[in-house]
């Protein structure tokens, strides 16, 4: 406990020492300093996670995710396609016992988990993937999304099966619980250590991808409209609002976002469809670019391998399949059959990646923001040779914004609001995931929870002030580190899921699992 407090005091000291400095120097130099310190601090960790497989330029972590998703797809005999219809039925409530009304429904668990994943990954992340890996990255992204459905299915089933139910009626679940309890049940050693390791990475992931990346891109989006101003200002405002919700318990703010975020999601897809409809004659061409780019790279840095790496990376970052975060969100559902939550959760990568990410990619490709060399048909690289040159030199969320803006001039404003709200809802979701990992490590209690929540808010300010490069690297690295532990453990635990699956599908075939009339 003492350690936490001293850590917390240290963080406060860092925050406090940074503030007076800003009075003497110009504000951007504070941003620059935060940025540099952050990059130096996180460098080794990022370097390890993205280390290439010896002799290649292929990061081992990407291979790790793809192999994981493929193994689960094969092991469960393409569960994502066989039980797709059943998953829809579950979400519709066809199999929900009316006596359980008032408990968390399958739909609510899915919607909550989705609001944690649908967000900047779908808007900014896809722009990064397509901007660096070219249209071909989209193909690999879709493939990763389809395979990822099996990873999600595995982890979410386990999340419900091994959750903790407390006497007061609350629940806690997630990889840390299924790793420690599941390993114990199977008589495997090391469950506790792995669970602790996962929790550490989950906290880092919550502070990185679930927080700093969101704050950072929200700031970029705001400056697009207002003109440039220091990031820490945006950070402070965001931190204050998040603080009000997660510490102050001001539910009304969260309630508003809950209602608005799904609406924004629908509107985003709607706008993308409009852009596609207006340019319907180019859809065939865009898919041609996607397929050609997937296997040749069309001149992007790293060729088709570059496209593949970007596609897989951004898909994993967007839908979080295999990362384990969704298992935390899904574990609250009321069901007697843990596997039903697995079925429901497999819809997530489909909605998130296969539908929404693909929409973003198509809009960027069709709007021709990426500069093509007319002579060769290949994409032109920027001066540094790291990404494809774009019409206005945009990258990340600015590229998506420009792509939509080229078709619907006022849409960047709507997109800005959407990005801010998505960023906010993702932060709220991840503050919960991080909190669950934190309380797993340090025990549940008001003070320990408060410490984490304050640290979380401090990182919002840091994230908004840092520049995209180091933030995105650290965010990716932390989230992928979760997947390292999670997928490793899923290999041992997947036979538990298989048993559940066999039993359930036998009963489903025998007609023992009945629909309820509503």
């Amino acid at each position: 406990m003492k350690n936490i407090y001293s850590m917390f005091l240290m963080l406060c000291a860092v925050a406090a020492s940074a503030l007076p400095a800003q009075a003497q120097d110009a504000a951007p130099s504070l941003d620059a300093r935060v940025n540099e310190a952050f990059a130096n601090f996180t460098g080794p960790f990022v370097g390890f996670i993205f280390a290439p497989i010896p002799g290649t330029s292929f990061p081992w972590i990407v291979m790790w995710l793809v192999i994981g998703a493929t193994v689960f797809t094969v092991y469960f005999a393409a569960v994502q396609f066989r039980f797709f219809g059943h998953a829809i039925g579950l979400v519709k409530g066809d199999y929900s016992d009316p006596n359980d009304a008032g408990e968390v429904s399958h739909f609510q668990a899915l919607a909550t988990a989705l609001s944690g994943t649908v967000g900047l990954g779908n808007i900014a992340g896809v722009a990064v993937a397509v901007g660096i890996g070219g249209p071909g990255a989209t193909f690999w992204m879709i493939l990763a999304g389809l395979l990822g459905m099996a990873s999600k299915f595995t982890e979410c089933t386990l999340g419900v099966k091994y959750r903790n139910e407390y006497p007061d009626g609350t629940v806690s679940g997630g990889p840390m619980y299924y790793i420690s309890k599941g390993f114990d049940e199977l008589g495997l050693p090391g469950g506790k250590i792995l669970a602790v390791l996962f929790s550490v990475f989950c906290i880092l992931g919550a502070l990185g991808g679930g927080n700093m990346f969101q704050a950072n891109q929200a700031h970029v989006q705001i400056t697009q409209i207002t003109g440039d101003f220091p990031g820490w200002i945006t950070g402070l405002i965001f931190a204050a609002v998040v603080f009000a919700v997660i510490v102050g318990g001001i539910k009304s703010i969260a309630k508003v976002t809950e209602k608005v975020v799904p609406f924004m999601g629908v509107m985003y897809v709607g706008a993308a469809l409009i852009v596609l409809l207006v340019n319907f004659d180019m859809i065939g061409w865009a898919f041609g670019q996607i397929f050609a780019g997937a296997f040749t790279g069309l001149g992007v840095a790293g060729g088709f391998v570059g496209a593949l790496i970007q596609g897989f990376k951004r898909a994993a970052f967007s839908n979080e399949a295999g990362v384990g975060s969704a298992a935390i969100a899904h574990s609250a559902v009321k069901t007697k059959e843990p596997i039903t939550e697995g079925f429901v959760s497999l819809l997530e990568p489909l909605i998130d990646t296969v539908v929404i990410c693909t929409m973003t990619a198509l809009v960027i490709i069709i709007s021709q923001q990426l500069i093509v060399d007319q002579a060769t048909g290949n994409y032109v690289l920027n001066e540094a040779g790291t990404a494809i040159a774009t019409v206005d030199g945009n990258s990340g969320v600015a590229l998506t914004s420009a792509a939509f803006g080229s078709a619907i001039s006022w849409f960047p404003f709507v997109l800005a609001i959407a990005v801010i709200l998505f960023a906010f809802s993702t932060m709220i979701s991840w503050s919960y995931y991080g909190l669950k990992a934190w309380t797993y490590l340090f025990g549940e209690g008001k003070t320990t929870e408060l410490v984490f929540k304050i640290i979380f808010c401090v990182f919002i300010v840091i994230g908004a002030a840092a520049s995209l490069g180091p933030v995105i690297d650290f965010s990716d690295a932390a989230i992928f580190a979760m997947a390292v532990v999670n997928i490793f453990c899923l290999y041992f635990l997947m036979k538990v899921v298989r048993k559940e699956l066999d039993s359930y599908s036998a009963r489903l075939k025998a007609g023992e699992i009945k629909k309820f009339s509503h």
């Binding site: 009316p98 009304a101 399958h106 609510q108 909550t112 969100a329 559902v333």
Partner: protein, 143 residues
């Protein structure tokens, strides 16, 4: 005879109770089922934290409904020498009251006129109005 009485925790509910009491005292062998529905939809959006606490909240909501609305009502009816029991359930108010009437084989539903007016009820209609429109047994709305 079985009567379902829908209460909403407002004072107008007393009028519905009085009316039912009257009706029941005129017939022999009448069972009164007092119903309170906690407005809830399986398709609403919640935060992860709310989900984690949902079971606890549900229990609390049920306890409060029984404590404040149903138990006093049932006690009052029993005191008047009538046979009465209570049901509390989560769901859409109109649908759930109708559903309970069906399950129980009730001949009639008695509810109070909704006191709440305003914009929401103009747009979406009140629960009482929805019940009157969709119920599968006769509904008496007590003014």
């Amino acid at each position: 005879m079985k009567l379902v009485i829908g209460l909403d925790g407002q004072s107008t509910g007393d009028k519905a109770l009085d009316f039912a009491k009257d009706l029941a005292s005129k017939t022999s062998d009448c069972e009164l089922i007092v119903v309170y529905v906690i407005e809830w939809s399986p398709f609403s959006f919640q935060t992860a934290e709310e989900n984690a606490e949902r079971h606890k909240r549900r229990e609390e909501e049920i306890a409060v409904a029984k404590d404040r609305v149903l138990n006093p009502a049932v006690a009052a009816l029993k005191e008047a020498g009538l046979s009465a029991r209570a049901i509390v359930r989560h769901g859409d108010v109109a649908d759930t009251i109708d559903q309970i009437a069906q399950e129980e084989g009730a001949q009639q539903i008695i509810v109070a006129r909704t006191s709440a007016g305003g914009l929401t009820s103009r747009i979406f209609g009140s629960s009482t109005a929805n019940l009157v429109m969709n119920a599968r047994v006769p509904v008496t709305v007590v003014a």
